[in-house]
Amino acid sequence: MFKLASEPIVSTTLNQEGAGGFVTFEGKVRNQAEGRPVNRLEYEAYVELAESEGRKLVQEAIEKFSLISAEVIHRIGVLELGETAVLIQVASPHRREAFAGCEWIIDQLKVRVPIWKKEHFADGDSVWVVPSEENKV
């Protein structure tokens, strides 16, 4: 499951038959970016392609790591400090695959899914984040 959400994300507990290892990643809005005070973030998505590419990568993760389930929710819109920007929940029979699969999903999401982040700094400035060129698929 891959979903874009414009309302706050509420994390729920998965309970999958046969699963023993559950790994959850939550990315939250920090109060600074490279030392510069941040007031809020803004996420924008190319919704149609973000959803199809997101579903694709979740399916790839399930196959690659033999996961029982994997669910991703990514916020769009304006987020205040401490809010959850992305929630990834993965279940698998054993813990190794759950850790590896969950980390792979967030790594892939960051380089493949058309979502953009604007940092609104405390000094009133705001900037679209452009990752350095090494961060490629």
């Binding site: 990315g27 996420y43 924008e44 998505a45 190319y46 149609e48 392609l49 973000a50 199809s52 590419e53 990514h74 920007a85 992305v86 967030i106 999401l109 960051k110 380089v111 493949r112 899914v113 058309p114 979502i115 953009w116 982040k117 604007k118 679209w128 984040v129 452009v130 990752p131 060129e133 961060n135």
Partner: protein, 79 residues
């Protein structure tokens, strides 16, 4: 031929609009991106702009067809 272009995030800000339709004589997606990057003085080099055509990721050498919708995708930064 007519192409429809959509801009997101940084590129939307730099273009000053979300989408537009215009006559183009660019042969490929890459040609169109290079043209737009120069015309609108994008801060990103064309090599860092990905594209989708009609809803699917596209390569620079994809040939443009009348009526195509091209989306300009600056480097993504989700998560």
């Amino acid at each position: 031929m007519t192409v429809n272009v959509r801009y997101f995030a940084l590129l939307r800000d730099q273009r000053g609009l979300e989408s537009e339709s215009f006559e183009s004589n660019s042969a490929t997606v890459g040609d169109l991106v290079a043209h737009l990057a120069q015309t609108h003085q994008f801060s990103l080099p064309p090599s860092r702009i990905r594209t989708a055509v009609n809803g699917e990721f596209a390569d620079d050498d994809q040939v443009l067809v009348d009526g195509d919708t091209i989306v300009l995708i600056p480097p993504v930064a989700g998560g």
